[in-house]
């Protein structure tokens, strides 16, 4: 189906067998339950400001120890794409994006709500997400095994180049300054060197503490940067809540809405999927790019921002298929491309599973079960979301004075339950303060957390490469794949110097 024509017959039989295997895993009662819980928590996280999907996945990561690996990843993935659904609800109804990938949905979605068309906007966001989510899952299914097989021939130089390109691209796509993002990435890599040397086992920067022997834990750092820092920022500017009361009637978009939206959804799905594969905050970039594209292609671009349905359908589709695309590099190369993928890598490694080129052939039940669960989860979200919108709106009205203490308590319990070590709570608080102040001066947390995870991979592959080449750096330029990646990296680094100020993704 997706491979060379020579073995297409054999492989489509394979594919059907694999999908069958996947559903046999995903449809067991326990995994259905976890999938349901995942999308439910995800939607909740998407609805509530103050806690994003990264914080929520970090929190639940510590509770997935005792689960089967398949159940764990099904639950966590549900949170991720569930949040994409939930985020759009609050963007449309109250002009508050629950997470960054839904910021652009506010532009036209909220306008539609003010005009009494909240129902159509919500409905189209949900259908668009469903269609795009399904497209993304099919793409993931086709592309991941292919890339995984290609990556079998990768050696240390290729992996070093991949991590380098990944981090540079994340910085290049960063919404703030590229230099600041690179600085955060370097700080993250440095934080990643604390603990045992991955090759010799010698201790570095542990200052005699046991807690740092294994380096900075991913969960305390992520919860600090994305949970604590977020709440601190919200605490800084508490004001009277400005909720706009909307009556929601008729959740189903009409025929004209469909006609206007079907192409934006299609384009958004494809665009989002490929942007999702690239390193960086795929869903966020995808939603902005889709909005820009629809505006350019539209016959009435001047109406964008006044409540046109294309401005909701396209971006919502794009951010959902991007979530599926972003799993590809992690599952087939073992290289996470964003903060949240770094957490997924952590989740797999807790269970002793190494994502990478051998992942799919070694753990077919896990890979195909996970894929099938995403189909199931997308369908659940569609059914769940439309009737439950009233509940989500009520949840949004939870007073922050209750909400923030609860989020903080969850962070504390989540980190403590990991190793029953209160020092890790202190680590989390430290990174919370660090994240809060750094964000105030324009340094974002995402490159840091990604670099923290990529650090050991990068160091090991760099040192192994030099061992292979006897200290000759030309090894990175004489191997074709590696050379292409290095050239790309250099291009991303010097491009902004020539184009002057980088164009902002935000309008």
């Amino acid at each position: 189906m997706c491979r060379s024509p020579l073995d297409s017959w054999e492989s489509s039989v394979d594919l059907i067998a694999n999908i069958g295997l996947g559903f046999s895993v995903a449809l067991t009662p326990i995994n259905l339950l976890f999938c349901f819980l995942g999308v439910l928590v995800g939607t909740l996280v998407g609805v509530l400001p103050g806690l994003g999907p990264v914080g929520a996945v970090a929190f639940l990561l510590s509770l997935t120890f005792k689960m089967e690996p398949a159940s764990a990843i099904i639950l966590l993935a549900g949170i991720y794409y569930g949040a994409m659904y939930g985020g759009s609800t609050t963007s449309i109804l109250v002009n508050i994006p629950g997470e960054t990938a839904s910021v652009v949905t506010c532009l036209d979605g909220y306008r539609m709500a003010r005009q009494g068309r909240a129902g159509a906007a919500l409905g189209m966001a949900a259908f668009g997400s469903f269609i795009a989510g399904t497209f993304g899952v099919i793409g993931l299914m086709c592309l991941a095994p292919l890339l995984g097989r290609a990556a079998l021939s990768f050696g240390p130089p290729e992996f070093f180049a991949l991590t380098l390109t990944g981090l540079t691209l994340v910085a290049y796509l960063s919404q703030a300054s590229m230099l600041k993002a690179l600085t955060m990435a370097t700080l993250g890599l440095l934080a990643g060197t604390a603990g045992m040397d991955p090759i010799s086992g010698e201790e570095r920067f542990t200052y005699g503490t046991l807690t740092l022997r294994d380096g900075f834990g991913l969960v305390p750092v992520a919860m600090g940067l994305f949970g604590i820092a977020e709440v601190l920022e919200n605490l800084a500017r508490i004001g009277p809540p400005s909720l706009y009361e909307t009556k929601i009637k008729g959740l189903l978009p009409n025929a004209k809405d469909w006609k206007d939206s079907i192409w934006p959804i299609g384009r958004g799905s494809v665009l989002g999927f490929f942007l999702g594969i690239l390193p960086g905050p795929g869903p966020v970039i995808a939603s902005f790019m889709s909005y820009a594209m629809e505006k350019r292609l539209s016959r009435y671009p001047e109406k964008f921002g006044t409540g046109v349905i294309e401005g909701v359908a396209g971006p919502e589709a794009a951010n959902n298929s991007a979530t599926a695309g972003s799993f590809i590099p992690l599952l087939s190369l073992g290289i996470p491309t964003s903060g949240i993928m770094a957490l997924f890598m952590g989740a797999l490694m807790i269970h002793g599973i190494q994502p990478g080129p051998l992942f799919i052939s070694r753990h077919p039940d896990l890979f195909w079960g996970f894929i099938a669960s995403m189909y199931v989860g997308n369908a659940m979200l569609l059914v769940l979301n439309l009737p439950l919108i009233g509940i989500w709106v009520r949840v949004l009205k939870t007073p922050y004075v209750i909400l923030f203490p609860l989020i903080l308590l969850f962070c504390l319990i989540g980190v403590y339950s990991l190793n029953a070590n209160t020092v890790e709570i202190v680590v989390m608080l430290g990174f919370g303060i660090f994240g809060f102040f750094m964000r105030r001066v324009g340094f974002e947390g995402a490159p840091f957390i990604l670099a923290l995870v990529l650090g050991p991979i990068m160091e090991t592959s760099l040192r192994q490469s030099l061992l292979i080449s006897r200290g000759d750096f030309s090894i990175f330029l004489t191997r074709p794949i590696c050379a292409v990646l290095i050239v790309l990296t250099v291009a991303f680094l010097i491009w902004p110097l020539f184009t002057g100020r980088k164009k902002k993704t935000r309008e």
């Binding site: 509770l63 005792k66 703030a176 300054s177 230099l179 600041k180 690179l182 600085t183 370097t186 700080l187 890599l189 440095l190 060197t193 040397d197 010799s200 010698e202 570095r204 920067f205 604590i228 709440v231 601190l232 605490l235 800084a236 500017r237 508490i238 922050y400 004075v401 209750i402 923030f404 203490p405 609860l406 903080l408 308590l409 504390l412 319990i413 403590y416 339950s417 029953a420 209160t422 709570i425 202190v426 608080l429 919370g432 303060i433 809060f436 750094m438 964000r439 105030r440 001066v441 324009g442 340094f443 990068m458 160091e459 760099l462 040192r463 030099l466 061992l467 006897r470 200290g471 750096f473």
Partner: protein
């Protein structure tokens, strides 16, 4: 503007410190890079980047972004919240989960926006009991018992 200069200066100092601190570890050679090789290389990179940041900040080219001004009230809320969380870390294994959570919630509910005491106590008690039930009884997370014995 000043905060940009301060950040760049702190980063530069950090880079210098890491470079020196890594000096106590074996560096190896390019043929056989050792433990200090990667951190030292990164420290040099960080140093270069913080110098550029510093130069840009001094030239006034770095716009301050995202840094809305925080009122004194906001800083107080943040400080009290952080102290409460640190207190939680200190007290947890001594007082046990239930009591510490109860105190944490009381402190946070009063600090973020002073609520009526009755409401504070009721919410704090309910949160402590419900979270204990969910995490300890339902999910089997080992939580410290402490003074109260549960």
């Amino acid at each position: 503007m000043r905060s940009n200069i301060a950040v760049a200066a702190v980063l530069l100092a950090l880079a210098g410190y890491i470079f020196l601190a890594a000096g106590t570890l074996p560096f190896g050679t390019m043929r056989v890079p050792q433990t200090a090789f990667f951190p030292r290389t990164l420290a040099v990179l960080l140093g270069i980047m913080s110098l550029i940041l510093l130069a840009r900040a001094l030239a006034g080219r770095e716009a301050l972004r995202g840094g809305e001004k925080i009122e004194t009230q906001g800083w107080i809320r943040i400080a009290v919240t952080l102290m409460t969380l640190a207190g939680f870390a200190l007290a947890l294994e001594r007082l046990g989960f239930l009591l510490t959570t109860f105190l944490l919630m009381i402190s946070l509910l009063r600090a973020i926006e002073a609520q009526k005491w009755r409401k504070v106590v009721v919410v704090a008690l309910a949160t402590a009991l419900i979270s204990y039930a969910i995490f300890s009884l339902l999910l089997g997370v080992p939580l410290p018992a402490g003074l109260l014995g549960i």
